[in-house]
C-alpha cells in the first residue's frame, strides 16, 4: 500500500522537510540527497535573485520549494511576502511565519489565521507555522490550510517535543496533516513525533549545528522512516506494570 503525504493535492513520499537557512549553500545538495527530501524551505528574504550567493542557484532539480514568510510581523506583511515569493520562486507552496517576538520567535496564531485565509483563497498551498492550540488549528483548517505545522519547542532550541501532549491533541482532532516544525533537535525526537502520528517533520538547526550536516540529514531520514513505520504498524500499549498471569476474571466460563 502506498503511504503518501498529500499537501494541497500534491503527493510526496518523503516525510522529511528540510530547512536551508543556517548552513553553507554548497551543502544543500548533499543534505537534500542524504535526507531523501522532496521539500526544501527557504526564506524569501535570503533570495538574492540574479546576484551572488543566491540560494536558488543551489537547489537540486525536482525539489519542491517551500518559501517561508520569515520577517513578516503581520498578516498583511506575510501576504505580501508570499506573493513576492510566488513570483521569485515559481512555487505555489508557502510556509506562513508571522512572528512579532524576536526573543523566542513564537508564531502569532491570530495573524497566521488571517494570512492563511487570504492566501488559500488566492490558490496558494498554505502551510502555517503555529503554536499548538486546538482552536487555532481548527480555524486554520477552516481558513483553507493544507496542513498545520505546530512547534515542538521554540525555533532553533533543539529542545525536542516540549509541546508533545498538545501536538497529540492536534493529531487526534485535526483532519489535515500535522507537521512538527520547530524545536526538533535529534533524530530520536523526530522518530518520536512520527510514532505519535505526525505526518512529517521539519528540521534545520538540528542539522546545521551538527558536526556533519549531510550525515545528520541521513540520520534524520532513517529516524523519520522508522517512526512512520512504527506508527503504521501500531505501537503496542505501554503499561506501568506486568500483566497478571492469573487474570482475576479467569473464573468466568469455568
Amino acid at each position: 500500500m502506498e503511504d503518501a503525504l498529500i499537501l494541497g493535492g500534491h503527493k510526496f513520499t518523503s516525510r522529511f522537510i528540510l530547512g536551508s537557512g543556517k548552513y553553507s549553500l554548497e551543502l544543500i545538495k548533499a543534505a537534500v540527497e542524504n535526507a531523501g527530501a522532496e521539500i526544501l524551505t527557504l526564506a524569501l528574504r535570503r533570495v538574492n535573485d540574479g546576484g551572488m550567493a543566491n540560494i536558488l542557484d543551489y537547489i537540486p532539480k525536482g525539489i519542491t520549494l517551500l518559501p517561508n514568510t520569515s520577517g513578516a510581523r503581520t498578516a498583511q506583511e506575510a501576504v505580501r511576502i508570499a506573493r513576492l515569493a510566488r513570483e521569485v520562486c515559481g512555487s505555489d507552496f508557502v510556509k506562513i511565519e508571522v512572528i512579532r517576538d524576536s526573543k523566542y520567535l513564537l508564531p502569532d496564531n491570530y495573524e497566521t489565521i488571517k494570512a492563511t485565509e487570504i492566501l488559500a483563497a488566492e490558490g496558494f498551498v498554505v502551510m502555517p507555522y503555529m503554536y499548538p492550540d486546538l482552536n487555532a488549528a481548527r480555524d486554520l483548517a477552516n481558513a483553507g490550510a493544507a496542513c498545520v505545522m505546530p512547534l515542538g519547542a521554540p525555533i532553533g532550541s533543539n529542545m525536542g517535543l516540549v509541546t508533545k501532549e498538545f501536538i497529540q491533541i492536534l493529531i487526534d482532532e485535526i483532519d489535515l496533516p500535522v507537521i512538527v516544525d520547530a524545536g526538533i533537535g535529534s533524530p530520536s525526537q523526530a522518530c518520536e513525533a512520527m510514532e505519535m502520528g505526525a505526518a512529517a517533520v521539519m528540521a534545520n538547526t538540528a542539522l546545521a549545528t551538527s558536526g556533519d550536516i549531510p550525515a545528520m540529514a541521513e540520520a534524520f531520514k532513517l529516524a523519520i522512516n522508522a517512526g512512520r513505520k512504527a506508527y503504521l504498524a501500531g505501537l503496542g500499549a505501554v503499561t506501568g506494570r506486568a500483566s497478571a498471569s492469573s487474570p482475576l476474571t479467569g473464573f468466568i466460563g469455568e
Partner: protein
C-alpha cells in the same frame, strides 16, 4: 582647550529638550541610569563569573558580572559559549553590507569626531545624480544591503534629502538602513514608507557627565533625545534598531552595561524589534584629541563586550565595522559577529570616484573589497549573505 571649556559652560543643559524634539513616554532612561549607577563592577568575584557562566539564561546581574574586570580571565569560556549561541541562532550565515556617506555637513561640536563643525575639512553633499552614481558603483560589487549616512545638519541634509536617497537606494538594494541624526517618530514613519527598515544611532556614552563634556554644541548635545531614538524609530515602523557606545569615550564597564540594558529594555517593550549591537572603538580622526580612556579599550575589552552582549541577548545581531582590522573581524565572525561591512570608504563620492570628494569621518582599518570579504567568509566555512530582508 580653554575655548572648549567656555563653550561647555555656555551650552544648554544637556538633559533639556530643544524645541521641535518629540518627547515620548518612556521610563527606560531612568531605569538604565539607575541600574548602571547601582553596579560596582569592581565588586564581582571569580565565583560570580562562574555562576553567571553556569546559568543558561543570563540575568541582568550576570551581564554586569561578565563585563567586570573579574571576568577577564574567563574570556575564552565566554567566547566558547558565545560561539555556540551565535551558531544556534544564526547558523553559518554572515551578512555583508556597506555604508554610503551622503553628506558630511554637521552642526554638532563633538570633540572626537572628524565631521565636527569646527573642523576645516572638505564638506560635500551628493546631489541625486551623485548619489545614484555611488549606488550604482556599490551595487556593481554585488552588495544588496546599504547603510545611508549623513552628518547632523538639518539645513544641508534634511529629511527630504534623506528621503530622496532612500527612494533611490530602494532601486538598487534589498535592504536599506539609516545612520543619520536622530529624528522624530513621524519622520521615521515617512522614511520607512520611502523604503528604509533599519536605524542605527550610537549613544556614544551613557555617562551623562562625560557626554556633556564631549558634545559641546548642536542638537546632539541633548542626551535624552538621542537616547530615545531607537524607540521613536520603532514607533515609526522601523524593523530594527542598532545600539552602541563609542568605546574609549568613557568608562568601559558602565557604558557597555548601560547599552546592553538599554537594548534589553527596548526589546521587552517592542518584542518584534530586531535588535543589534555595534562595537565601535574610537579611531583617529581629523582634529580629535583622544581622551586618555581611549587607550583603555584594548582588544580584550572589545572581545569581552561582544561576548557579553551575545550571552545576554543571544538573538541580537552584532555588527563589526571596518574600524577593526581584517584579522580581528575574521576572528569575531567565528564567535559573535553576524554582519560586517565591506568595500568601505567613509569619504563622500569616493565609490564612483567623483570629481569632488568630501573628507572622511575617520580612518578605517580594513580596506578589503566586497569580493575579498565575501571570499574570506566562505573560506572560513561560513555562508556570506547579501540580502536578509524583504521590504514589504
Amino acid at each position: 582647550m580653554k575655548e572648549k571649556q567656555n563653550l561647555a559652560a555656555a551650552a544648554q543643559d544637556c538633559m533639556a529638550y530643544l524645541p521641535g524634539m518629540e518627547i515620548i513616554e518612556s521610563d527606560i532612561l531612568r531605569e538604565v541610569q539607575h541600574a548602571a549607577d547601582s553596579v560596582d563592577f569592581n565588586a564581582f568575584t571569580e565565583r560570580d563569573i562562574k555562576a553567571a557562566l553556569m546559568r543558561k539564561h543570563k540575568t541582568v546581574q550576570d551581564f554586569a558580572a561578565l563585563l567586570s574586570p573579574a571576568a577577564l580571565p574567563f574570556l575564552e569560556e565566554m567566547a566558547q559559549q558565545a560561539r555556540q549561541l551565535t551558531f544556534k541562532w544564526f547558523g553559518a550565515a554572515r551578512s555583508i553590507f556597506t555604508p554610503l556617506y551622503l553628506a558630511n555637513y554637521c552642526e554638532n561640536y563633538c570633540v572626537y569626531c572628524g565631521f565636527n563643525c569646527h573642523n576645516k575639512i572638505n564638506r560635500l553633499k551628493l546631489d541625486e545624480d551623485g548619489m545614484e552614481r555611488e549606488m550604482q558603483a556599490i551595487a556593481a560589487t554585488g552588495l544588496r544591503e546599504i547603510l545611508l549616512l549623513t552628518g547632523e545638519s538639518r539645513s544641508m541634509s534634511g529629511v527630504e534629502y534623506i528621503a530622496s536617497a532612500v527612494r533611490l537606494a530602494r532601486k538598487y538594494f534589498a535592504v536599506v538602513g539609516l545612520e543619520v541624526y536622530p529624528l522624530n517618530s513621524d519622520e521615521y514613519a515617512y522614511l520607512h514608507e520611502c523604503g528604509a527598515d533599519y536605524v542605527t544611532v550610537f549613544q556614544e556614552t551613557y555617562d551623562v557627565d562625560a557626554y556633556a563634556k564631549l558634545h559641546l554644541a548642536g542638537h546632539k548635545r541633548v542626551f535624552p533625545y538621542r537616547f530615545y531614538t531607537q524607540e521613536r524609530a520603532l514607533k515609526g515602523g522601523m524593523r530594527g534598531v542598532a545600539f552602541a557606545p563609542l568605546m574609549g569615550l568613557s568608562g568601559f564597564c558602565r557604558d557597555i552595561f548601560a547599552c546592553g540594558l538599554h537594548a534589553y529594555l527596548v526589546q521587552r517593550k517592542y518584542p518584534a524589534a530586531e535588535i543589534s549591537f555595534s562595537c565601535p572603538r574610537l579611531r583617529p580622526a581629523e582634529g580629535n584629541e583622544l581622551p586618555p580612556e581611549a587607550n583603555g579599550t584594548d582588544l580584550r575589552h572589545l572581545v569581552q563586550a561582544v561576548c557579553a552582549y551575545r550571552l545576554f541577548m543571544p538573538q541580537a545581531g552584532i555588527t563589526v565595522s571596518s574600524r577593526e582590522g581584517a584579522g580581528v573581524r575574521d576572528n569575531l565572525l567565528q564567535i559573535v559577529a553576524t554582519k560586517i561591512s565591506a568595500g568601505v570608504s567613509t569619504g563622500i563620492g569616493t565609490h564612483s570616484k567623483q570629481e569632488r570628494e568630501g573628507d572622511e569621518q575617520f580612518e578605517i582599518d580594513d580596506n578589503r573589497s566586497v569580493d575579498e570579504v565575501f571570499n574570506s567568509i566562505k573560506k572560513a566555512g561560513l555562508q556570506p549573505v547579501l540580502t536578509d530582508g524583504s521590504y514589504v
